[in-house]
Amino acid sequence: MSDENESGGTEYLIRGARPLGGEPADILVRAGEIAAVGPRAAAEAGAPARTVQADGMIALPGLVDLHTHLREPGREDAETVASGCRSAAMGGFTAVHAMANTDPVADTAGVVEQVWRLGRDSGHCDVRPVGAVTRGLAGERLAELGAMADSVARVRVFSDDGMCVSDPLLMRRALEYVKAFDGVVAQHAQDPRLTQGAQMNEGEVSDRLGLAGWPAVAEEAVIARDCLLAEHVGSRLHVCHVSTKGSVEIIRWAKQRGCDVTAEVTPHHLLLTDDLVEGYDPIYKVNPPLRTAADVHALREGLADGTIDCVATDHAPHPIEAKETEWANAAMGMLGLETALSVVQHTMVDTGLLDWAAVADRMSAAPARIGRLTGHGRPLAAGEPANIALYDASAERVVDPAAMESKSTNSPYRGMRLPGRVTGTFLRGVPTVLDGKIQ
């Protein structure tokens, strides 16, 4: 996304932060850009520059999320673009992709432009609408992908997320068609026949609880097929929310073959497992479902070795009544934006699997590259857009969904102690979060 928004008028001198977790270096932010990093920053700062004390904080490029549900238009009771953008800013994000399964579905230029404008008006985060692959997410006929790509929203990521483009011929055509504008199809890999009525990961826990099983093969078979299709037609493919060990292995294999495939994993699939379903609390109901400890292990390894390119939240707000019900009737999905970085620290950094430079890649550079966002995911260097997240990795907090900026409270981490806290977020030089508070 380009710099069409107003740029910051105030200068900010961020003192003592550690870019990508390295040695402390001051960062001077001026006119929407990073003016200087290091010893020159303080020297170049003008007299009116505002100082942001960030001693010991990790400085990261503003995070980019390939996968959120902002619910507007249609379900403004759960989230709006504005509340979702505040939530994103609190999580250190400066750009989010908004999935197409709104009401009406984002399958026309009109709807994607509406969402894009709502994001621009919010000022807290750039919003990049995702366009539906098929009309009405029905999986039958292609939506007008070119019109969405050419619109002011400049859609590059197309997805029927929530639904799988299961028809192999339609998937092939979509993969081919978006090449004309360097688009990518982000597949929600779920064979619909193998998951009819499915409620949770199929295995020991589902069998004991009497909940219809959601087998890993229903995800893996679609991913394998799509990788082969993408390779055959020379297109790029993105796999949404990879959740199983087998999926990681298939993607690793496809990449070795030279297939142009990228993949994302959610924070919750890096941490939570299906035994949490034991009490039938639908706060743990999500699509794809929570899997086993072996899957979690494989996902962490896959993210560490680059098989999985990025972390995406699949932030999915739901009103209270959609979760305070029987498991089978409850909605699927979890909040993710305001806890993502903490969960990644907990599962990947504190375990030694990733350093902060790699976190910057997985949560900013890689998703920006996949979504073809030009102004995000850039290095923290002079001349780059001032999209910055400041993160206190030594902090600790007990998650309280009621205190979040999201309109909804369906966080699976409620009451959980997680490391780290976003203390500041800058969007093109304008602070959207300062001192841990939304601006």
Binding site: S206, D207, G210, Y280, E326, W327, A328
Partner: protein, 309 residues
Amino acid sequence: MRHLLSTADLGHDEAVLILDTARELAQIGERSVKKLPTLRGRTVVNLFYEDSTRTRTSFELAAKRLSADVINFSAKGSSVAKGESLKDTALTLQAMGADGVVVRHGASGAAHRLAGWVDGSVVNAGDGTHEHPTQALLDAYTMRERTGRLAGLRVAIVGDVLHSRVARSNVLLLHTLGAEVTLVAPPTLVPVSVGTWPCQVSYDLDEVLPKSDVVMMLRVQAERMNEAFFPTAREYSRRYGLDRDRFALMGEDAIVMHPGPMVRGMEISAEVADSPRATVTRQVANGVSVRMAVLYLLLGGSEPAIGQR
């Protein structure tokens, strides 16, 4: 223990206490005045989201024989039909002062959810494809009554295990009580992780029958063939139905059980269902005693209480 949600929650001694209490209470049913004052002033709500005249009536009779006030709250023709959530229904029952809620629901885990929203005791009377604990208790009661023991008893459970709450509750309870369970079904109708359950699995009914003291037939819905669980009802019946020829393979003292409702000609032939070695009606009679015991132990308040756990 405040609730009865799963037979997994019952230890050996607790389960035996329920069965022993049921045996004492069964004597009431033989008197001319079939009533005890034990739960006088207590309110039991039968909350049934699925039609089940058999189970609802059994619970109703059990509660009434203990002098409890019984309210039947059926999902049809009530606020539930107008879209009231399970939680709001729970809060309503709570406000009315229900001491016990007996719940039948099509969703697995509904009884667990309810237990989180009410102060009273919740008895799971069947939740989706999860469990049906009082059915397993009355089955165990019937087995003990007919064979005199449970430890070492060889029990075959035959049919649609995958979708059966009766099978889940029975496997757990019978294991706790020391019986040896073998599940018999086509491979499509057992859960994928059945190898982790405390029981054996066989696909061959003829091989299991001679080695069984108890053969429990589960209802199999013919519509399952539309989801390719088996090719046709006839083929299912040929391979897994208990007909006269197969009945002859069983030991002379072995009994045939069925939780009902039976589909004669599908999983069980009429000759077998009507045999004196079939315990179907006895199970129904025992159901009342076992449910009396459960309500008594959960709501009776004083000794003997189930579960010092």
